[in-house]
Each structure stands twice: as structure tokens, then as C-alpha cells.
């Protein structure tokens, strides 16, 4: 069902955490709330679920106002970062808890629990205890339990951040497969930009209790509306200048840019810069950092007022101290209006 967040403001102990948030999540869509810790993304999640009450605004689900619906009747189910499995119940009892609350009879909810365990690829675990299983398995149980509650909106609160890197990838795939199969409207809260970019249909970027930008992963990466959003995805060097007649002009360079006239900052991310060794150039390599798949090359101009970074896949023969020529990939440059 479509979820609409209208003008939501939240204050906790007299501090404003969310400031007039507006957001629409389409039926079956998978969106991410991305932002640094403390930006209010988890608070927004809990407000949607009704655990936190908003000071202003409304939440609509399928066009119906949810504000007076208590949390346990909303069917907006959260999977928390710390899983919150009930320690005094077996795995099957954990998963069937929502069904038991609905008054489903015992043999039926046990059957459903076993079905769901199969879905999260943990067959045969039903009678184990919560403290006998690993973190990744707990995550799967928490997910199965959330699905048992038949969620209209699935809310995932940093669900992968406590898992090992290797496990994370498997879990992301599992979540995505299940989401596509069941077509549940899903909101993922994360601080990991890669997670947001790879998993979501759209990303809402939050900062200081406000949504800065809400767009598709590609658009938000390529056309961030301000430096906060831009920096969060990939840092680089900013060069100030202005655009006139579709051309960006700065102290250092000028390049074609398909934007309206005005003052702009041009963000040069490492991926937008190509370098090659040359005899005579005003750019010099000051550092070469091995990063596993590639090398990060840091270069300065002779005046020392322009510091750039580039990525080299091949170690080639560029070393610290070498002079290099640079080439900008105009499609990867980002222009942010000032």
C-alpha cells in the first residue's frame, strides 16, 4: 500500500528531531532513508510505526490516516538492528508470536512458522533456542517473524550493520528477493551509501531532521542538490566558478556544462579525473595509496592551491614525485548551484 508522510514534526525531550518531513512511498516500492547517525532516520521509522508520537503532521497508509491507530494495529512492522528476539521463546515461538497475538490456533501458527523458516533458509531450526544461533541466523529469524505479522509496510532499521561484511551481502540479497516476491512496501534505514544505492528504488537523504533530497539512486549520486548530499556519496574537490552559455568557467579550467547560467561549484570526484605521466606539467603526484582493487593517487598543482585525487586501476609506472597531465570526464563532473 502507498505510504504518505505529511508534514511530520517530532520533538523528543524538547529537542526537535524531525522538521516537517514529507515523503511518499509507492505501493511495493523499496526506499532507503540514508544519513549519518543522529539525522533522525530511526526516529522517522518509529514514528511511522507509532512507537513515537508526532507533534505535527499525519501519516497515511493507502489513503487512510493512521494517527489514531495504535502501533499494534498498524501492520507497520520494524526489524530492529539488535534483532530483539524474545529470549524466553524458541525460534518457532518467536516467529509465530504475531500469529498467536491474532488468535490463530497453535497447529496452524506452527505450520506457518515452519513455512517462513524455509523462506529464510533455516529449515529445521524451529525448536532451537535464541541463544544457540549466530548473528546472521538471528537476523533471518527476525525477518521471518516480521513477515509473520503480515506487514503492509516493512521497516528495516539498520538491519545489516551488526553483521560481518560477508554475511551482509547474502542478507541483502535475501531481503531483496523476499521483498520482490511479496511486493511489500519497504523502508530501509541505513548509513551505508553503498547499501542504499544497490538496494533501493529511491533514496531519501536525511540531514538534521530534514529530507535533503528524494530521488532514484542514479540521480541522487549524479545530481546531488547540495554539497552535503554530494559529499555523503563520494568526496572530491570543489572548484568554484560560474556557468555562462552552457560553459563552466573557473580559475583553473573551463568546460562544457549543460546547465543554466549562474554561480556553481564543480565537484571533481576521483572517478572523474584521468591522469597520465608526462614530462612537463603543473601537477605532481604527492601520494599513492594502495586500496586493494586500485590505487588512490593524490596530486597537487605547483601553486599548491588545487589538490585532486584520482583512481588508477593499473599500478603502471606512476610514482610519487612524477609529473602528470590531467583530463576531466565531463559526464562525471557534478555542478551544484551556489
Amino acid at each position: 500500500m502507498e505510504l504518505e508522510i505529511k508534514n511530520i514534526s517530532v520533538s523528543l525531550s524538547n529537542k526537535e528531531i524531525l522538521k516537517s518531513i514529507n515523503l511518499v512511498v509507492k505501493d511495493g516500492e523499496f526506499i532507503s532513508l540514508l544519513g549519518a547517525s543522529g539525522c533522525g532516520k530511526s526516529t522517522l521509522l518509529k514514528t511511522i510505526a507509532g512507537i513515537i508520537k508526532q507533534r505535527e503532521g499525519s501519516i497515511l497508509l493507502g489513503g487512510k490516516v493512521l494517527d489514531k491507530v495504535p502501533p499494534y494495529k498498524r501492520k507497520t512492522v520494524i526489524v530492529f538492528q539488535d534483532f530483539r528476539l524474545f529470549p524466553h521463546m524458541t525460534i518457532a515461538e518467536n516467529i509465530s508470536f504475531p500469529l498467536k497475538m491474532l488468535g490463530v490456533n497453535k497447529s496452524e501458527y506452527r505450520k506457518r512458522a515452519i513455512e517462513l523458516l524455509k523462506k529464510v533458509k533455516l529449515e529445521g531450526y524451529e525448536d532451537r533456542h535464541v541463544d544457540e544461533i549466530s548473528g546472521g541466523q538471528k537476523q533471518r529469524i527476525a525477518l521471518a517473524r516480521a513477515l509473520a505479522a503480515d506487514p503492509v509496510v516493512l521497516l528495516l532499521d539498520e538491519p545489516f550493520s551488526s553483521l560481518d561484511v560477508n554475511l551482509r551481502k547474502d542478507m541483502r540479497e535475501l531481503v531483496q528477493d523476499l521483498q520482490k516476491e511479496l511486493k511489500i512496501t519497504t523502508i530501509l534505514v541505513t548509513h551505508d551509501q553503498e547499501e542504499a544505492l544497490t538496494m533501493s528504488d529511491r533514496i531519501a537523504f536525511m540531514h538534521n531532521g530534514e529530507i535533503q533530497q528524494y530521488d532514484s539512486p542514479e540521480n541522487i549520486f549524479k545530481n546531488p542538490i547540495n554539497t552535503i548530499v554530494a559529499d555523503y556519496f563520494a568526496e572530491g574537490t570543489y572548484v568554484s566558478g560560474h556557468i555562462k552559455d552552457k560553459r563552466f568557467i573557473s580559475d583553473f579550467f573551463s568546460i562544457n556544462a549543460n546547465k543554466d547560467n549562474g554561480s556553481y561549484k564543480c565537484l571533481i570526484r576521483p572517478s572523474a579525473l584521468k591522469i597520465s605521466k608526462t614530462r612537463d606539467s603543473q601537477f605532481k603526484v604527492v601520494a599513492k595509496v594502495y586500496q586493494g582493487d586500485n590505487y588512490l593517487i593524490k596530486i597537487h598543482n605547483t601553486d599548491g592551491n588545487l589538490k585532486l585525487e584520482s583512481i588508477l586501476v593499473d599500478p603502471v609506472d606512476i610514482e610519487v614525485g612524477d609529473k602528470v597531465s590531467i583530463e576531466l570526464d565531463k559526464d562525471k563532473l557534478i555542478f551544484i548551484p551556489e
Binding site: G50, R84, F86, L102
Partner: protein, 271 residues
């Protein structure tokens, strides 16, 4: 641990402590079954069941008093645990005006010796016609046990936190069901501790019961103490033995009954 020989004095200290704790219990157990134990014998010369028989005599008053005394203390213990759960929830989970004051009030009876408090409240209870009634005794015992039970429940409520209940809400459990199915089982160890603590405090009370009950509300302590005061060792010891054993029995029953809720415990016992 690492260096066992250096622990020897400490071990001896523990053994002495254990001996000092257990020896008197053995001695009163002997006394409870003693008919004659003349000076200067170290053991009784002749045993009998006189003391125990008197307590459990078919038409005697003692056994019914034991039962009603256990009932009274269990009532105090249950009420104390329930009020402690409620108060702990309010203090830990909610913000409300007067919270600091309530926090203080709930611990205040610890700061007033029970003798002082009992004499002060006695007059009030007389005015309310609650003196010399079981209800009056229950109220006063309750006030006296609450600081202990609230302390236990508060620490546990804090450590469990509200997160598990929130998880239950979003999974579709109403607040009451969330408490019943999620928090209550997790609070159970504390509830058992509270009930046993309040029970023993209430069951042991002599002075407070004497004053507030005015001799009309008879508890087991009330009939046991005169024998101790007289120095009647056989009967005093028989009463003391019944006191301790009945208490341990009540604790065992409370434990078994409440642990039935707690499947986790049962299952881990199987493993």
C-alpha cells in the same frame, strides 16, 4: 585458582563461617526433639516428639495459625510484588510530574526504623478502625516490604528496557499482551525474588505484628516468641524448626509454580 596454597587461610575462614552458620541450626534441630538434656551433657539423654506433636496436635490452635500466618504473608508478598512491578514501570518508563518525589517516597520506609514507624502509624490505624485487624497488619507489612521489592523490580525493569515491548507492539501485540507474553516472563526471576523477600520480611515480623495486630491477629512469630522469651528450648526450637521448614517449603512452591511460566528455564534444565 592460580595459587591454591595461598588461599588456605581464606578457605579456613569460609569453613569456620559455614560451621558457625550451620551449627546453631543443628543444635535447635536436636532441641526440637529433646525430652531431657541435663547439664553437662553435650548431647540429649532422651528424645521425644513432644514439641512437634504440640504444634501439629489435631485439635490444637497452632497449625491453623501457621496456615493463616502463611496466607497473610503470601498476601503481603503478592501485593508487594504487584505494586513493585507497577511502581517500577512508572518510574522507569514514564515521565510524569512528581517522579522524583515518588522515587523518594518509595524508598523512605528504609530510612525509618520499623519500631518508630509502627508506633506512629498505630494511632492512625486506630482512627481508621484498622488496628487489630488482619488488613491493618497487611498494610503495615506491605509498607515495610515495598522498598526492597521496588528496588529489585526497578533494577530488572531498567535492564530489560522498553525495547522488547516495542518490538511486540509492532508485531501486533496490544500493550497488555506485550506485557503478559514478553515482559512478564522476562521479569519472572525478579518477581520470584520479590515475593520471597517480601514473604520472609512479613513472616519474620514480630514487633510490628504485635503492635498493630494488638494480639488479635495471630501469626506464627507471635506464638513462637513467647516460648523463646521464656527460654523453653524444646518448644522454642520446635517452633523455630517449623518456621524454617515451612518457609523453605513455601519458597519451593512459589518457585515451581512461577517457573512453569518460564519455559526457557525448563528447557535449559533438559539440556
Amino acid at each position: 585458582m592460580k595459587d591454591i596454597s595461598s588461599n588456605k587461610p581464606l578457605k579456613i575462614f569460609i569453613y569456620i563461617s559455614l560451621f558457625v552458620i550451620l551449627a546453631p541450626m543443628v543444635i535447635i534441630t536436636l532441641w526440637a526433639f529433646t525430652n531431657q538434656w541435663p547439664w553437662p551433657n553435650l548431647l540429649p539423654t532422651n528424645y521425644s516428639l513432644r514439641g512437634i506433636k504440640e504444634i501439629f496436635a489435631p485439635y490444637g490452635k497452632v497449625f491453623p495459625i501457621l496456615i493463616s500466618s502463611i496466607t497473610l504473608s503470601l498476601t503481603v508478598a503478592l501485593l508487594s510484588a504487584i505494586i513493585a512491578i507497577m511502581t517500577a514501570r512508572a518510574i522507569v518508563f514514564y515521565d510524569f510530574s512528581g517522579k522524583e518525589l515518588l522515587d523518594f517516597i518509595s524508598m523512605a520506609p528504609n530510612l525509618v526504623p520499623s519500631t518508630v514507624f509502627a508506633m506512629g502509624i498505630h494511632v492512625v490505624l486506630i482512627r481508621m478502625s484498622l488496628a487489630n485487624t488482619p488488613l491493618g497488619v497487611i498494610i503495615v507489612h506491605l509498607i515495610y516490604t515495598l522498598p526492597y521489592t521496588i528496588n529489585i523490580m526497578r533494577n530488572l525493569t531498567e535492564s530489560i528496557g522498553v525495547d522488547m515491548e516495542h518490538q511486540a507492539y509492532v508485531l501486533g501485540a496490544s500493550p497488555w499482551k506485550s506485557f503478559l507474553y514478553v515482559s512478564f516472563p522476562l521479569l519472572l526471576p525478579g518477581i520470584i525474588a520479590s515475593i520471597t523477600m517480601a514473604y520472609i520480611l512479613s513472616f519474620s515480623q514480630y514487633f510490628v505484628t504485635l503492635l498493630i495486630g494488638g494480639g488479635k491477629v495471630m501469626t506464627f512469630s507471635m506464638i513462637m516468641v513467647p516460648f523463646i522469651a521464656k527460654g523453653d528450648r524444646t518448644l522454642g526450637s520446635a517452633y523455630a524448626l517449623v518456621f524454617v521448614l515451612s518457609t523453605l517449603l513455601v519458597f519451593a512452591i512459589i518457585n515451581t509454580l512461577l517457573k512453569k511460566f518460564q519455559k526457557r528455564e525448563e528447557k535449559s534444565n533438559w539440556n
